[in-house]
């Protein structure tokens, strides 16, 4: 607990600014394929951070994230589009996020009362009911074929040509920066939440509802607010995804997507913003990259070749599934646990830490706290 020296402070800032800088120059080097994957990852990261807040911090499982992504995406499309009020896209973006929050709020009678795995499966209902509505209410949602997404002004290929350092800046490049900005906003706010009063209250009610409530935490309200906030992040992610896809279709927002998000936060490491981000990139980018490059693997046949051999997509699926298993086998705390472990190993080579200051992961067993 020593005062930060100039050196550590510089290190601290360096660790934040450098990655950001790096992300900023990427569009100068990557082509549309990579930028698209990057954009998907950024959007997923925003959603994952929201889910991390709910599941990792407040201990509330949600399999309904796909639904809130859909609310955000469709909300934006409808608000900014035709049919719909045709609002200015930027306003529509903000309203869509609020709409997702409101949708989360509507679910709060359940979200405030139902806990853990029960909530997880209850939210499953949202995905199925939501899908049902997306298909049925076709005057708003466009039905099965969905709707095309009105672009944000200034974020299309047809906007005034922009060439920076010899690189033409099209929609992909511009959207990348939008995604980056929204992601930075997410990071900033989520860290604030986690380290602030709400984060502590949520952690407390995750670990012991009783302890939290007798210390003055309004359990049901905090639970449902966490749900609302997480829905809003999901909504934002949904808008960004819609902009990246240029078209929203109901089938994308299915259960598999919710499960993916769950995988993201666990693979990244529960309870931290950086973890959720790492997990989001892993889960989003890996299958896409593997699918693209799998045909270069040995023993993999070209798509559509004879029976009984492994095609590239299958190979990619095998590898992806195995990657999930392996990552979690060897770093049960997720990708973030991995970096932390590397760091402590480095620290351990220096003089041993004293008993009180070391921050080892919590022990495996903790007495279950039912009482008295």
């Amino acid at each position: 607990m020593s005062e930060p020296t100039a050196r550590t402070r510089a290190l601290h800032w360096g660790r934040r600014v450098l990655p950001l800088l790096l992300l900023c120059v990427l569009p100068f080097y990557l082509d549309a394929f990579w930028l698209r994957i990057g954009l998907f990852s950024l959007a997923a990261a925003i959603g994952a951070v929201g889910l991390g807040l709910l599941t990792g911090t407040a201990g509330q499982l949600s399999l309904g994230h796909a639904f809130f992504l859909a609310v955000g995406a469709y909300g934006y499309v409808w608000l900014a589009g035709e049919p719909g009020p045709g609002l200015p896209p930027v306003l529509a973006l903000v309203l869509a996020v609020l709409l997702a929050g409101a949708a989360g709020g509507l679910f709060s009678p359940v979200a405030g009362r139902v806990r853990g795995i029960y909530l997880g499966v209850a939210t499953l209902a949202l995905v199925f009911l939501g899908h049902h509505v997306l298909l049925t209410a076709d005057s708003v949602t466009g039905g099965f074929n969905g709707r095309s997404v009105p672009p944000l002004p200034g974020f299309t290929d047809s906007d005034p040509q922009l060439v920076l350092l010899g690189v033409p800046f099209g929609a992909a490049e511009r959207l990348w920066y939008l995604g980056l900005a929204l992601f930075a906003l997410t990071w900033f706010t989520a860290c604030g939440l986690l380290r602030g009063r709400p984060g502590r209250a949520l952690t407390a009610l995750r670990d012991s509802e009783t302890a939290a409530s007798v210390m003055g935490v309004h359990v049901a309200r905090y639970r449902s607010t966490a749900f609302v906030v997480s829905s809003m992040y999901a909504g934002l992610a949904g808008v960004l995804l819609a902009l990246a896809f240029r078209r929203v279709v109901p089938d994308y927002f299915a259960l598999a997507l919710s499960v993916d998000y769950l995988a993201m936060i666990v693979i990244g490491g529960l309870g931290s913003v950086a973890g959720a981000t790492a997990g989001a990139v892993f889960v989003t980018a890996l299958p896409l990259l593997m699918t693209r490059y799998a045909d270069q693997l040995p023993l993999v046949a070209a798509p559509g070749a004879a029976d009984g051999v492994v095609g590239p997509t299958e190979a990619a699926r095998y590898l992806y599934g195995a990657a999930i298993v392996l990552v979690l086998l060897y770093t049960p705390d997720g990708l973030r646990g991995l970096t932390r472990r590397l760091r402590t190993r480095r620290r351990l080579e220096r003089p041993p830490a004293t008993a009180t200051s070391s921050r080892e992961p919590t022990p495996a067993v903790r007495p279950k706290e039912h009482t008295p």
Binding site: T189, R195, G196, R197, A211, V217, E360
Partner: protein, 271 residues
């Protein structure tokens, strides 16, 4: 103490009155028509054999359990209908007999105790408004102060799960203090501590009571501690109040000796 909003009761905590409280669980009356009053600023001990209903009484006081009949009043407020968090906001803090801490460090737990004294909501914290940042810093200082008071400063940044039983017990105590309560409910605060540590905790209780002028309701099986600290004692057995009075009165009560203390020696004193 400049940080928290000034509490009106800071000088004179309201009186806590338990009136004819009855609690039933399926087929079992855990509290049977129990009444007692905790006068402002006093230490009121609640003793009795195991299963007498002491913890249940605490659960009623802190809103975790709703009595079948009877009322609990704190000053003018009636607590029996309030949710636990509302009761906490009125200045009632408690510890648990079986430790109920949350994961995270001691600091995190103590900051939870500051919850009712801080305001920052989701929006303010997310946007890191200056007010939220300042508030957080001030409360952290306060929590550290209380950690020092309870001998936890060494463990301030240690995850609670790594502490020994006695230290975790202390964390609970400190967390309750962080609430700056007007009424402090302590359920066996020194269980699992050795004599020296018990004395130290007793000292702390005495200090904070003097300093903050709060009322304490104490459940404890360590009769020495009870005798030393308590101004008044209520004895429960099978959910019923069997004795009431000053420590000395209670200690001599044959009913108490039979049901609770079970020693022959004091009985001779009485004789």
């Amino acid at each position: 103490m400049s940080t928290s909003a000034p509490r009106p009761q800071a000088t004179e905590p309201p009186e806590l009155r338990v009136q004819e409280v009855t609690v039933r669980f399926a087929g079992l009356t855990a509290l049977d028509d129990v009444s007692f009053t905790v006068s402002p600023g006093s230490v009121h001990a609640l003793i009795g054999p195991n299963g007498a209903g002491k913890s249940t009484c605490f659960n009623v006081l802190s809103g975790l359990c709703r009595p079948a009949s009877g009322t609990v009043r704190l000053g003018d407020a009636e607590l029996t209908r309030l949710a636990p968090h509302r009761i906490a906001a009125l200045g009632v803090a408690r510890t648990f007999q079986n430790i109920v801490t949350t994961e995270g460090t001691v600091a995190d737990n103590l900051m939870l105790g500051r919850h009712v004294h801080s305001r920052a909501g989701f929006a303010a914290s997310a946007l890191r408004l200056p007010r939220a940042v300042r508030e957080q810093r001030e409360h952290l200082a306060k929590a550290r102060e209380i950690a020092e008071l309870t001998g936890l400063e060494r463990h301030f940044d240690t995850p609670v799960a790594l502490l020994s039983y006695g230290d975790r017990k202390r964390v609970e105590f400190a967390r309750a203090l962080c609430l700056e309560p007007s009424v402090l409910l302590l359920d066996e605060p020194v269980a699992g501590m050795n004599a020296a540590e018990r004395a130290r905790t007793a000292e702390t209780v005495r200090d904070v009571r003097a300093e903050l002028g709060l009322s304490v309701v104490l459940v404890e099986h360590d009769m020495g501690l009870v005798m030393r600290l308590a101004d008044e004692v209520t004895v429960l057995d099978f959910g019923r109040r069997i004795a009431h009075g000053t420590p000395d009165e209670v200690r001599g009560d044959p009913e108490v000796l039979r049901a609770y203390l079970g020693t022959e020696t004091p009985q001779e004193d009485v004789a």
